[in-house]
Symmetry: C2
Subunit: 180 residues, 2 copies
Amino acid sequence: MALGTDYAFQDCSLARTLEVVGERWTMLIIRDAFYGVHRFNDFLVHLEIPRAVLTTRLQALVAAGVLTKQPYLRSPVRYSYVLTQAGRELWQPIYGLAQWGERNASNGKVRTIFSHFTCSTRLDRAGNCPACGGPVPPEDITIRPGPGADASLRKDPVSRALARPHRLLTPLQLTDGTAG
Amino acid sequence: MALGTDYAFQDCSLARTLEVVGERWTMLIIRDAFYGVHRFNDFLVHLEIPRAVLTTRLQALVAAGVLTKQPYLRSPVRYSYVLTQAGRELWQPIYGLAQWGERNASNGKVRTIFSHFTCSTRLDRAGNCPACGGPVPPEDITIRPGPGADASLRKDPVSRALARPHRLLTPLQLTDGTAG
DNA sequence: CCCCAAAGTTCGTTCACCGAACCGACACCA
DNA sequence: TGGTGTCGGTTCGGTGAACGAACTTTGGGG
Protein backbone atom coordinates (compact mmCIF):
# COMPACT_ATOMS: atom_id res chain seq x y z
CA MET A 1 0.00 0.00 0.00
CA ALA A 2 1.37 3.35 -0.98
CA LEU A 3 2.53 5.77 1.62
CA GLY A 4 -0.35 8.15 1.11
CA THR A 5 -3.12 5.60 0.91
CA ASP A 6 -3.06 3.55 4.08
CA TYR A 7 -5.52 4.76 6.66
CA ALA A 8 -7.17 1.36 6.98
CA PHE A 9 -7.70 1.44 10.74
CA GLN A 10 -9.67 4.65 10.48
CA ASP A 11 -13.35 3.76 10.43
CA CYS A 12 -14.08 7.01 8.66
CA SER A 13 -15.34 7.89 5.23
CA LEU A 14 -12.99 10.83 4.93
CA ALA A 15 -10.07 8.42 5.30
CA ARG A 16 -11.63 6.19 2.63
CA THR A 17 -11.83 9.17 0.29
CA LEU A 18 -8.27 10.21 1.00
CA GLU A 19 -7.08 6.72 0.17
CA VAL A 20 -8.41 7.44 -3.33
CA VAL A 21 -7.70 11.13 -3.86
CA GLY A 22 -5.38 12.06 -1.00
CA GLU A 23 -2.00 11.38 -2.53
CA ARG A 24 0.22 14.07 -3.92
CA TRP A 25 -0.91 15.27 -7.39
CA THR A 26 -4.14 13.29 -7.40
CA MET A 27 -6.53 16.16 -6.77
CA LEU A 28 -4.74 18.34 -9.30
CA ILE A 29 -5.17 15.59 -11.87
CA ILE A 30 -8.88 15.49 -11.12
CA ARG A 31 -9.07 19.28 -11.29
CA ASP A 32 -7.43 19.20 -14.72
CA ALA A 33 -9.89 16.51 -15.80
CA PHE A 34 -12.75 18.83 -14.84
CA TYR A 35 -11.07 21.59 -16.82
CA GLY A 36 -11.06 19.40 -19.93
CA VAL A 37 -7.60 17.82 -19.91
CA HIS A 38 -7.89 14.20 -20.97
CA ARG A 39 -4.62 13.07 -22.58
CA PHE A 40 -1.58 11.66 -20.81
CA ASN A 41 0.78 14.19 -22.33
CA ASP A 42 -1.46 17.14 -21.55
CA PHE A 43 -1.58 16.21 -17.87
CA LEU A 44 2.19 15.76 -18.02
CA VAL A 45 2.90 19.18 -19.54
CA HIS A 46 0.40 21.11 -17.48
CA LEU A 47 1.20 19.59 -14.09
CA GLU A 48 4.96 19.10 -14.58
CA ILE A 49 4.55 15.81 -12.78
CA PRO A 50 7.03 12.92 -13.13
CA ARG A 51 5.84 10.53 -15.81
CA ALA A 52 5.99 7.48 -13.58
CA VAL A 53 3.92 9.22 -10.93
CA LEU A 54 1.32 10.25 -13.50
CA THR A 55 1.10 6.67 -14.76
CA THR A 56 0.61 5.38 -11.23
CA ARG A 57 -2.01 7.99 -10.34
CA LEU A 58 -4.04 7.53 -13.51
CA GLN A 59 -4.06 3.76 -13.04
CA ALA A 60 -5.16 4.16 -9.43
CA LEU A 61 -7.94 6.57 -10.35
CA VAL A 62 -9.19 4.23 -13.06
CA ALA A 63 -9.08 1.33 -10.60
CA ALA A 64 -11.02 3.40 -8.07
CA GLY A 65 -13.70 4.27 -10.61
CA VAL A 66 -12.95 7.98 -10.66
CA LEU A 67 -11.67 7.99 -14.24
CA THR A 68 -12.24 5.75 -17.24
CA LYS A 69 -9.68 5.10 -19.95
CA GLN A 70 -11.09 5.25 -23.47
CA PRO A 71 -9.23 5.00 -26.78
CA TYR A 72 -9.73 8.13 -28.86
CA LEU A 73 -7.35 7.15 -31.66
CA ARG A 74 -7.15 3.71 -33.25
CA SER A 75 -3.79 4.00 -34.93
CA PRO A 76 -1.62 4.77 -33.17
CA VAL A 77 -3.73 3.84 -30.17
CA ARG A 78 -4.18 6.81 -27.80
CA TYR A 79 -6.23 7.05 -24.67
CA SER A 80 -8.54 9.58 -23.04
CA TYR A 81 -8.90 9.75 -19.30
CA VAL A 82 -12.36 11.10 -18.48
CA LEU A 83 -14.26 11.48 -15.24
CA THR A 84 -16.90 8.92 -14.34
CA GLN A 85 -20.12 9.91 -12.60
CA ALA A 86 -18.46 9.15 -9.26
CA GLY A 87 -15.53 11.33 -10.28
CA ARG A 88 -17.83 14.19 -11.24
CA GLU A 89 -19.35 14.08 -7.78
CA LEU A 90 -15.99 15.25 -6.44
CA TRP A 91 -16.67 18.66 -7.95
CA GLN A 92 -18.28 20.15 -4.86
CA PRO A 93 -15.45 19.45 -2.40
CA ILE A 94 -12.77 20.33 -4.95
CA TYR A 95 -14.49 23.60 -5.73
CA GLY A 96 -14.79 24.25 -2.00
CA LEU A 97 -11.08 23.65 -1.42
CA ALA A 98 -10.20 25.96 -4.30
CA GLN A 99 -12.49 28.69 -2.96
CA TRP A 100 -10.92 28.34 0.48
CA GLY A 101 -7.55 28.88 -1.16
CA GLU A 102 -8.78 31.99 -2.93
CA ARG A 103 -9.95 33.44 0.37
CA ASN A 104 -7.15 32.28 2.64
CA ALA A 105 -4.00 31.57 0.67
CA SER A 106 -3.97 33.79 -2.41
CA ASN A 107 -3.38 37.32 -1.13
CA GLY A 108 -6.89 38.21 -2.19
CA LYS A 109 -6.12 37.57 -5.84
CA VAL A 110 -8.98 36.05 -7.85
CA ARG A 111 -7.25 33.65 -10.18
CA THR A 112 -10.24 31.90 -11.68
CA ILE A 113 -13.87 32.87 -12.17
CA PHE A 114 -16.60 30.24 -12.28
CA SER A 115 -19.94 31.22 -13.79
CA HIS A 116 -23.25 29.52 -14.45
CA PHE A 117 -23.29 28.82 -18.19
CA THR A 118 -26.99 29.46 -18.70
CA CYS A 119 -27.16 32.83 -16.93
CA SER A 120 -23.50 33.99 -16.67
CA THR A 121 -23.87 34.59 -12.93
CA ARG A 122 -20.77 34.03 -10.83
CA LEU A 123 -21.06 31.10 -8.46
CA ASP A 124 -20.97 31.67 -4.73
CA ARG A 125 -18.49 30.00 -2.40
CA ALA A 126 -20.69 26.94 -2.01
CA GLY A 127 -20.89 26.38 -5.77
CA ASN A 128 -24.47 27.62 -6.08
CA CYS A 129 -25.82 30.08 -8.63
CA PRO A 130 -27.17 33.11 -6.73
CA ALA A 131 -29.53 33.93 -9.60
CA CYS A 132 -30.96 30.45 -10.11
CA GLY A 133 -30.74 29.55 -6.45
CA GLY A 134 -29.28 26.09 -6.53
CA PRO A 135 -26.17 23.98 -7.00
CA VAL A 136 -24.73 24.01 -10.51
CA PRO A 137 -23.40 20.75 -11.95
CA PRO A 138 -19.89 21.04 -13.35
CA GLU A 139 -20.97 20.62 -16.97
CA ASP A 140 -23.00 23.84 -16.64
CA ILE A 141 -20.05 25.87 -15.35
CA THR A 142 -17.96 28.26 -17.41
CA ILE A 143 -14.38 28.90 -16.31
CA ARG A 144 -12.25 31.90 -17.23
CA PRO A 145 -9.16 33.57 -15.73
CA GLY A 146 -9.75 36.24 -13.10
CA PRO A 147 -7.87 39.51 -12.59
CA GLY A 148 -5.37 37.79 -10.31
CA ALA A 149 -4.32 35.19 -12.85
CA ASP A 150 -0.70 35.35 -13.90
CA ALA A 151 -0.64 34.48 -17.60
CA SER A 152 3.12 34.95 -17.73
CA LEU A 153 3.71 31.96 -15.47
CA ARG A 154 2.81 29.27 -17.99
CA LYS A 155 3.14 29.40 -21.75
CA ASP A 156 2.72 25.79 -22.74
CA PRO A 157 -0.13 24.94 -25.15
CA VAL A 158 -2.22 23.29 -22.46
CA SER A 159 -2.05 26.32 -20.20
CA ARG A 160 -2.95 28.62 -23.08
CA ALA A 161 -5.89 26.46 -24.03
CA LEU A 162 -7.07 26.37 -20.42
CA ALA A 163 -6.80 30.15 -20.20
CA ARG A 164 -9.52 30.60 -22.80
CA PRO A 165 -13.04 30.72 -21.36
CA HIS A 166 -14.66 27.33 -21.71
CA ARG A 167 -17.09 24.94 -20.08
CA LEU A 168 -15.98 22.32 -17.62
CA LEU A 169 -15.84 18.70 -18.76
CA THR A 170 -15.58 19.62 -22.45
CA PRO A 171 -12.46 18.01 -23.96
CA LEU A 172 -9.69 20.53 -24.34
CA GLN A 173 -9.03 21.74 -27.90
CA LEU A 174 -5.32 22.33 -28.32
CA THR A 175 -4.46 24.96 -30.89
CA ASP A 176 -0.81 25.42 -31.66
CA GLY A 177 0.67 28.85 -32.19
CA THR A 178 0.37 28.65 -35.99
CA ALA A 179 -3.41 28.78 -35.96
CA GLY A 180 -3.45 32.38 -34.84
CA MET B 1 9.85 22.59 0.98
CA ALA B 2 8.25 19.38 2.01
CA LEU B 3 7.53 16.69 -0.51
CA GLY B 4 3.82 17.18 -0.49
CA THR B 5 3.68 20.96 -0.39
CA ASP B 6 5.42 22.26 -3.46
CA TYR B 7 3.05 23.14 -6.27
CA ALA B 8 4.40 26.68 -6.60
CA PHE B 9 4.30 26.88 -10.39
CA GLN B 10 0.59 26.12 -10.38
CA ASP B 11 -1.27 29.42 -10.59
CA CYS B 12 -4.25 27.80 -8.98
CA SER B 13 -6.03 28.22 -5.68
CA LEU B 14 -6.58 24.51 -5.30
CA ALA B 15 -2.81 24.03 -5.37
CA ARG B 16 -2.46 26.78 -2.75
CA THR B 17 -4.95 24.96 -0.53
CA LEU B 18 -3.23 21.62 -1.00
CA GLU B 19 0.06 23.18 0.06
CA VAL B 20 -1.64 23.78 3.40
CA VAL B 21 -3.90 20.75 3.87
CA GLY B 22 -2.78 18.33 1.14
CA GLU B 23 -0.10 16.38 2.95
CA ARG B 24 -0.66 12.96 4.40
CA TRP B 25 -2.55 13.07 7.74
CA THR B 26 -3.30 16.79 7.59
CA MET B 27 -6.99 16.56 6.67
CA LEU B 28 -7.54 13.84 9.25
CA ILE B 29 -6.02 16.11 11.89
CA ILE B 30 -8.43 18.87 10.86
CA ARG B 31 -11.33 16.43 10.88
CA ASP B 32 -10.42 15.39 14.42
CA ALA B 33 -10.21 19.06 15.41
CA PHE B 34 -13.79 19.52 14.15
CA TYR B 35 -14.81 16.47 16.17
CA GLY B 36 -13.44 18.07 19.34
CA VAL B 37 -9.93 16.62 19.63
CA HIS B 38 -7.56 19.34 20.81
CA ARG B 39 -4.63 17.77 22.68
CA PHE B 40 -1.41 16.46 21.18
CA ASN B 41 -1.76 13.06 22.77
CA ASP B 42 -5.37 12.65 21.75
CA PHE B 43 -4.50 13.26 18.11
CA LEU B 44 -1.63 10.81 18.55
CA VAL B 45 -3.75 8.03 20.00
CA HIS B 46 -6.71 8.46 17.70
CA LEU B 47 -4.80 8.80 14.44
CA GLU B 48 -1.92 6.41 15.24
CA ILE B 49 0.35 8.88 13.53
CA PRO B 50 4.12 9.05 14.18
CA ARG B 51 4.86 11.67 16.83
CA ALA B 52 7.35 13.56 14.71
CA VAL B 53 4.87 13.80 11.86
CA LEU B 54 2.15 15.07 14.18
CA THR B 55 4.51 17.72 15.54
CA THR B 56 5.39 18.86 12.03
CA ARG B 57 1.78 18.95 10.86
CA LEU B 58 0.48 20.85 13.87
CA GLN B 59 3.25 23.43 13.54
CA ALA B 60 2.49 23.84 9.83
CA LEU B 61 -1.22 24.23 10.47
CA VAL B 62 -0.58 26.83 13.16
CA ALA B 63 1.79 28.68 10.82
CA ALA B 64 -0.83 28.58 8.07
CA GLY B 65 -3.48 30.03 10.37
CA VAL B 66 -5.69 26.95 10.36
CA LEU B 67 -5.10 26.11 14.02
CA THR B 68 -4.08 28.15 17.04
CA LYS B 69 -2.07 26.82 19.95
CA GLN B 70 -3.40 27.84 23.35
CA PRO B 71 -2.21 26.75 26.81
CA TYR B 72 -4.99 25.01 28.74
CA LEU B 73 -2.86 24.01 31.72
CA ARG B 74 -0.34 26.25 33.45
CA SER B 75 1.58 23.65 35.37
CA PRO B 76 2.67 21.54 33.72
CA VAL B 77 2.10 23.64 30.63
CA ARG B 78 -0.17 21.88 28.12
CA TYR B 79 -1.50 23.13 24.83
CA SER B 80 -4.79 23.03 22.97
CA TYR B 81 -4.89 23.06 19.20
CA VAL B 82 -8.16 24.63 18.08
CA LEU B 83 -9.49 25.66 14.69
CA THR B 84 -9.35 29.31 13.69
CA GLN B 85 -12.12 30.91 11.66
CA ALA B 86 -10.17 30.13 8.49
CA GLY B 87 -9.85 26.54 9.66
CA ARG B 88 -13.57 26.28 10.33
CA GLU B 89 -14.26 27.35 6.78
CA LEU B 90 -12.72 24.08 5.68
CA TRP B 91 -15.78 22.28 6.99
CA GLN B 92 -17.75 22.32 3.74
CA PRO B 93 -15.11 20.67 1.53
CA ILE B 94 -14.12 18.20 4.25
CA TYR B 95 -17.74 17.23 4.79
CA GLY B 96 -18.10 16.89 1.02
CA LEU B 97 -15.12 14.58 0.76
CA ALA B 98 -16.41 12.45 3.63
CA GLN B 99 -19.85 12.20 2.02
CA TRP B 100 -18.26 11.19 -1.27
CA GLY B 101 -16.49 8.43 0.60
CA GLU B 102 -19.74 7.23 2.16
CA ARG B 103 -21.35 6.99 -1.27
CA ASN B 104 -18.42 5.67 -3.27
CA ALA B 105 -15.91 3.92 -1.05
CA SER B 106 -17.75 2.49 1.95
CA ASN B 107 -19.83 -0.42 0.58
CA GLY B 108 -22.95 1.58 1.34
CA LYS B 109 -22.25 1.58 5.07
CA VAL B 110 -23.24 4.77 6.90
CA ARG B 111 -20.48 5.23 9.44
CA THR B 112 -21.37 8.66 10.75
CA ILE B 113 -24.58 10.65 10.94
CA PHE B 114 -24.51 14.45 10.92
CA SER B 115 -27.62 16.28 12.12
CA HIS B 116 -28.68 19.87 12.60
CA PHE B 117 -28.50 20.50 16.36
CA THR B 118 -31.52 22.79 16.53
CA CYS B 119 -33.96 20.54 14.65
CA SER B 120 -32.28 17.09 14.62
CA THR B 121 -32.69 16.80 10.86
CA ARG B 122 -30.02 14.84 9.02
CA LEU B 123 -27.90 16.98 6.74
CA ASP B 124 -27.95 16.40 3.00
CA ARG B 125 -24.87 15.65 0.95
CA ALA B 126 -24.09 19.34 0.49
CA GLY B 127 -24.12 19.99 4.23
CA ASN B 128 -27.48 21.77 4.22
CA CYS B 129 -30.38 21.17 6.57
CA PRO B 130 -33.37 20.01 4.47
CA ALA B 131 -35.79 21.29 7.12
CA CYS B 132 -34.25 24.72 7.64
CA GLY B 133 -33.17 25.04 4.03
CA GLY B 134 -29.67 26.34 4.33
CA PRO B 135 -26.06 25.56 5.15
CA VAL B 136 -25.36 24.57 8.74
CA PRO B 137 -22.20 25.89 10.41
CA PRO B 138 -20.14 23.16 12.06
CA GLU B 139 -20.84 24.37 15.59
CA ASP B 140 -24.55 23.63 14.99
CA ILE B 141 -23.92 20.05 13.87
CA THR B 142 -24.39 16.96 16.00
CA ILE B 143 -22.35 13.90 15.16
CA ARG B 144 -23.15 10.31 16.13
CA PRO B 145 -22.17 6.87 14.82
CA GLY B 146 -24.30 5.38 12.06
CA PRO B 147 -25.37 1.75 11.61
CA GLY B 148 -22.23 1.02 9.56
CA ALA B 149 -19.83 2.13 12.27
CA ASP B 150 -17.58 -0.60 13.58
CA ALA B 151 -17.17 0.07 17.28
CA SER B 152 -14.97 -2.99 17.71
CA LEU B 153 -12.21 -1.44 15.59
CA ARG B 154 -11.07 1.13 18.14
CA LYS B 155 -11.20 0.93 21.89
CA ASP B 156 -8.93 3.76 22.96
CA PRO B 157 -10.45 6.48 25.18
CA VAL B 158 -10.45 9.06 22.40
CA SER B 159 -12.38 6.79 20.05
CA ARG B 160 -14.87 5.97 22.79
CA ALA B 161 -15.37 9.63 23.58
CA LEU B 162 -15.85 10.44 19.90
CA ALA B 163 -18.39 7.62 19.56
CA ARG B 164 -20.78 9.40 21.93
CA PRO B 165 -23.17 11.85 20.22
CA HIS B 166 -21.82 15.35 20.57
CA ARG B 167 -21.59 18.68 18.82
CA LEU B 168 -18.73 19.59 16.56
CA LEU B 169 -16.09 22.00 17.84
CA THR B 170 -16.86 21.29 21.50
CA PRO B 171 -13.69 20.16 23.29
CA LEU B 172 -13.68 16.43 23.80
CA GLN B 173 -14.37 15.24 27.35
CA LEU B 174 -12.30 12.16 28.04
CA THR B 175 -13.83 9.81 30.58
CA ASP B 176 -11.74 6.86 31.60
CA GLY B 177 -13.29 3.46 32.06
CA THR B 178 -13.67 3.92 35.83
CA ALA B 179 -16.24 6.65 35.54
CA GLY B 180 -18.80 4.23 34.08
C1' DC C 1 13.46 8.37 44.98
C1' DC C 2 10.89 6.14 41.64
C1' DC C 3 7.23 5.98 38.41
C1' DC C 4 4.01 8.22 35.45
C1' DA C 5 2.07 11.44 31.84
C1' DA C 6 2.30 14.99 28.15
C1' DA C 7 4.68 16.87 24.48
C1' DG C 8 8.04 16.72 22.03
C1' DT C 9 13.18 15.39 19.70
C1' DT C 10 16.48 12.15 17.72
C1' DC C 11 17.72 8.46 14.82
C1' DG C 12 18.12 4.47 11.63
C1' DT C 13 15.31 2.11 8.19
C1' DT C 14 12.08 1.98 4.62
C1' DC C 15 9.80 3.57 0.76
C1' DA C 16 7.61 7.06 -2.30
C1' DC C 17 8.88 10.85 -5.16
C1' DC C 18 11.91 12.85 -8.53
C1' DG C 19 14.26 13.55 -12.95
C1' DA C 20 16.49 11.65 -16.68
C1' DA C 21 17.11 8.10 -19.80
C1' DC C 22 15.29 4.48 -22.31
C1' DC C 23 11.60 1.83 -25.02
C1' DG C 24 8.02 0.51 -28.50
C1' DA C 25 4.47 1.61 -31.69
C1' DC C 26 3.26 4.39 -35.22
C1' DA C 27 3.21 8.71 -38.59
C1' DC C 28 5.47 11.52 -41.72
C1' DC C 29 9.00 12.60 -44.97
C1' DA C 30 12.62 12.16 -48.36
C1' DT D 1 14.56 2.47 -46.56
C1' DG D 2 16.16 5.17 -43.06
C1' DG D 3 15.67 9.42 -40.11
C1' DT D 4 12.95 12.08 -37.22
C1' DG D 5 9.06 13.17 -34.21
C1' DT D 6 5.12 12.13 -31.03
C1' DC D 7 2.68 9.67 -27.60
C1' DG D 8 2.42 6.77 -23.69
C1' DG D 9 4.61 4.61 -21.10
C1' DT D 10 8.85 1.73 -18.09
C1' DT D 11 13.33 1.57 -15.73
C1' DC D 12 16.65 3.23 -12.58
C1' DG D 13 19.70 5.72 -9.25
C1' DG D 14 19.49 9.45 -5.79
C1' DT D 15 17.00 12.14 -2.41
C1' DG D 16 14.12 13.01 1.23
C1' DA D 17 9.79 12.23 3.84
C1' DA D 18 7.37 8.83 6.67
C1' DC D 19 7.80 5.33 10.00
C1' DG D 20 8.48 3.33 14.68
C1' DA D 21 11.21 3.02 18.60
C1' DA D 22 14.00 5.10 21.91
C1' DC D 23 15.20 9.10 24.35
C1' DT D 24 14.40 13.88 26.62
C1' DT D 25 12.18 17.42 29.30
C1' DT D 26 8.97 19.20 32.57
C1' DG D 27 6.21 18.52 36.19
C1' DG D 28 2.87 15.48 39.51
C1' DG D 29 2.07 11.95 42.95
C1' DG D 30 3.15 8.32 46.25
